[in-house]
């Protein structure tokens, strides 16, 4: 079992490598590792693999697909016993999206959430502007706090007039 929780040590394994390549079904430019929702992958001496993932939002409908994709990816690499567990604690936060994940989201046209560092540096009481992923302008406005999926809000750029998605802070 995974009680030791020495997760960093598990990141060098072949099973982690395979699992970390699974992409998010709704945002196929980022992997589940990029999003920070892949928590742990352990392999015992019998070759059995146990994967722990955490949902972004409680109701995220992509979780079942991610489970199936994990089993398919690991099975294709020869692992015959694969279990996937959903864990809730500690709760996922947008701060767990990796730097690579943030860059890939932006390239794809989804403005990433401000980092913990950016939020800390912002003057108290000020909301950080979201930069348009199309033209880079900070002159944007939120048109709806709820977007096409639970994790995104809808924004419009005042400069290039294009609408875009923003991965909202959670």
């Amino acid at each position: 079992m995974t009680d030791t929780h020495d997760i960093d040590a598990h990141r060098d394994t072949r099973a982690w490598h395979v699992a970390s390549g699974v992409v998010d079904p709704e945002l196929p430019v980022v992997t589940i590792e990029d999003l920070g929702i892949l928590r742990d992958v352990t392999e015992d001496d019998q070759g059995r693999v146990h994967v722990q993932v955490t949902p972004t939002y409680s109701g995220c409908p992509a979780m079942e697909t991610i489970r199936t994709d994990l089993i398919d990816a690991l099975t294709a690499e020869g692992y015959r016993h694969v279990t996937v567990e959903f864990v809730l604690s500690p709760p996922w936060s947008t701060d767990q999206i990796t730097a690579r994940g943030r860059a890939r989201l932006e390239e794809y046209g989804v403005a990433p959430p401000p980092t913990e560092e950016e939020r800390r540096r912002a003057p108290v009481g000020l909301t950080l502007s979201v930069r348009c992923p199309q033209c880079g302008s900070p002159d944007t406005r939120e048109s709806s706090r709820f977007g096409s999926t639970a994790c995104k809000s809808l924004w419009v750029c005042r400069r290039c007039r294009e609408p875009f998605d923003h991965f909202k802070v959670l």
Binding site: P55, Y57, S58, R80, T83, V84, P91, F146
Partner: protein, 274 residues
Amino acid sequence: MSTPRPSSSPPLRSSDEQARRDPALTGSHVDYVLGLADDALVSAQRMGWWISRAPQLEEDLALANIGLDLLGQARSLLSHAGEIEGAGRDEDDLAYWRDERDFRNVKLVERPQEDFGVAMARLLVLSTWQSELYAALQRSTDPTLAAIAAKAAKEVAYHHDHARQWVLRLGDGTEESHARMQAALDAEWPWVEELFDESHLDPALVADGVAVAPSSLREPVLRRLEDVVRAATLAVPDVPPRVPGGRAGLHTEHLGRMLAEMQHLTRSHPGATW
């Protein structure tokens, strides 16, 4: 050893030790978690009514997402209730195969909400209560319940913000929107008090640190609600509370009809998957 596939329903981390104690307390524990699960499940189903009916596309997406969050919370809570019960019932068994008298939700959430003002007034009440509840429940001695609460608290903050914005905009809007928002508050207010009722809660659960005493949430919830109502230039309704009973399975006539629709497909085609 030829079947490497795991079971199809998502196993949440169980707390087996919770199940090995006084059976009466275990029953109370199940009922407590079911109450919170059913509040979320029934609210999600009612919120779903708005999909394709909201006043604008952005609102349609917002209400659908809020409903989805609530459904996700309900799934985690139902799965957990099933684990504590230890009778082999999973989230689907609990959602689709219990009858009206076995539902433990408060009556606030079960009535139709086919008026936008009512939907926002109710979401304001529900999200204010849930945010206070989940903030406190993060310290529950039931680790799974604490984890679900920590997750849900962040989602509910967005719901509260959404409802608050609408109540402010409609209350402090036109004469027409003001009157309709006030009417909506007046309609929801009699059902608020049931949230703080503890006549159907085993005090041992509170003493054990599993449950949050509903009465302890009364003051902070009402204060936050009244602040929003006043800021929206509306009046805090002065209405007598309705009789509680939802936590004991005594519901209004609306729940049975809602469940008939919600459960119909599963019951007509037991075991069907697609």
